[in-house]
Amino acid sequence: MIPFFAPRANLPISADSTGRYLPWLVAMMVFLAVLALAGALAVGGVLDEWRRDVAGTVTVQIVPATGVDPASARAETDRRVAQALAVLRDRPFVASAEPLEEPRLVALLEPWLGASDLVRDLPLPRLIDVRIAADARPDLKALGETLREAVPGVSLDDHQVWLAGIIDLAEGLSLLGVLVVGLVAAATAATVVHATRLGLEVHREQIEVLHLIGAHDRYIAQQFAARMVGWTLEGGLIGLLVAMPTLMLVSWLAADMEQGLLPPFSLSFWDWMALALVPAGAALLALVTARMTVRRALRRMV
């Protein structure tokens, strides 16, 4: 009956203390909620990029065996490669493990050691290309240790172990971010609920008078809810308006610091839309709470 955004000046629910403070409380909560949500979304985005970065492959190196007799040393090296392959193929998360052929090895080394013919005669280290099964989350460090125990002279590429660890960490962070968003959302909801109750408390007399004058519960709840929603929206928009420049600043700072090494802290169009919906969510929450609270309070009256 009463339009939400242009409340009549003579609305029977007054705009005293509640109206002055509720919007600020909601503004703060929405501000925090938007920041937390943005953080979670952004970490999620970075994570996706990183995950694409780590090819699902790990390289295992095997130092060639040394000995007086080159032929037996080479045989020993081959045995070690076979051993390592057996260990690797035993793991459930290993999709495939293939040793690199010597010509390819030599080609790999050429930029380092020159194209000298000598290279071909060197006892070269062997490499095994290990393809990790999609979606598997292997403990590479443990794998490295197992290999080292089983086969002498084996090592995993350190960099990739590191990167996998970082991704694990980032996934933890992302989960934490989601947790924080949940918490902040709960806190925002609780704030709105409490503020609504507080408003009800402050306006109890007015509500009682309306009741005794013969207003229907629906009318009173509507009047009250309209006020609450108005204030919540007001506060929510303020919170959003303050949060946006803050996000831009953070995003700019992050871009500056990462030096292009990491995917930029960026949000997609849909991410931004989700953020913009936070105040609306708060208002909806206020609407539902206000109506329920007032209805329940009214039912306690005669």
Partner: protein
């Protein structure tokens, strides 16, 4: 309007009202008297449906209130006009908006409101304070706004709790003439008051709450040697005759709240 063996207690306290039984005919006018704290406000609060009795039956407009669901009460409340002892005005609304509230709740058009409300406020002597908010009004002015709010809807039953405690006798008489005029137009009126002069002047029957929460129905109190005793005071009936009895036209004109 019927009370049968009505009793009321607050919490686990003693019964404030005990075996109250009476009936008010449509269009009757009663004073409710009794010492302070005997339960007048409590009795009236049952009448204006702010409370349900602990026991007994209450009938209003031929319906049993105690058996009704709460969703059915608002239409009945709209046929009642109430002046609360502590006014209960909404502090943030102007006098006009306060008085207009029952009309707004009932969905009366804004143009009607703008026509009738200022007229009634002028009649109760608040022409200069139509847009004033209650906190800036004097005690008597607030009381008159509360009365205007109770009668604006031309209720079928008017319940007034100490409606003249904060105004002088001249205004009190004027207000009582308003009630009497409403009564003449068919409204049932019950007024709780401590003002003996009023009770004497307006010879209406009395409901008297004696100690122990029991109610007795008494005949009108005689106004002894009326003219002689207070002829010179501004409250004399002669003085009132000229100002009082003409009710605001709008009030008489309205058909039904």
């Amino acid at each position: 309007m019927r009370f049968e063996n009505v009793g009321l207690r607050y919490g686990n306290g003693p019964e404030v009202l005990q075996d109250v039984t009476f009936a008010l005919g449509p269009g009757s006018f009663h004073f409710l008297t009794g010492a302070s704290g005997t339960g007048k406000t409590s009795l009236l609060s049952l009448l204006y449906l702010a409370r349900r009795p602990s026991r007994g039956l209450i009938g209003i407009f031929g319906r049993d209130i105690t058996a009704m669901k709460r969703d059915d009460l608002p239409p009945i409340r709209r046929r009642l006009g109430v002046v609360f002892q502590d006014f209960r005005l909404l502090d943030h609304l102007s006098a006009l908006d306060n008085v207009a509230l029952p009309l707004r709740v009932a969905g009366v058009s804004e143009s009607d409101i703008q026509k009738h409300v200022p007229e009634l406020l002028t009649w109760v002597g608040l022409a200069d304070h139509i847009n004033a908010k209650p906190p800036t009004l004097s005690g008597g002015q607030k009381q008159r706004v509360a009365i205007a709010r109770a009668v604006i809807n031309r209720p079928d039953v008017l319940v007034a709790d100490e409606p003249t405690g904060n105004v002088d006798d001249r205004i009190a008489f004027r207000l009582l003439h308003l009630f009497a005029e409403l009564n003449r137009l068919g409204t049932t009126v019950v007024i709780a008051t401590h003002n003996e002069t009023l009770v004497r002047r307006f010879r209406f029957p009395r409901l008297n709450l004696a100690g122990g929460g029991r109610l007795e129905v008494l005949p009108p109190l005689a106004d002894v040697e009326e003219g002689a005793a207070e002829g010179g005071s501004p409250a004399a009936p002669g003085a009132m005759a000229g100002v009082g009895p003409v009710p605001p036209a709008s009030l008489a004109a309205r058909s039904d709240g």
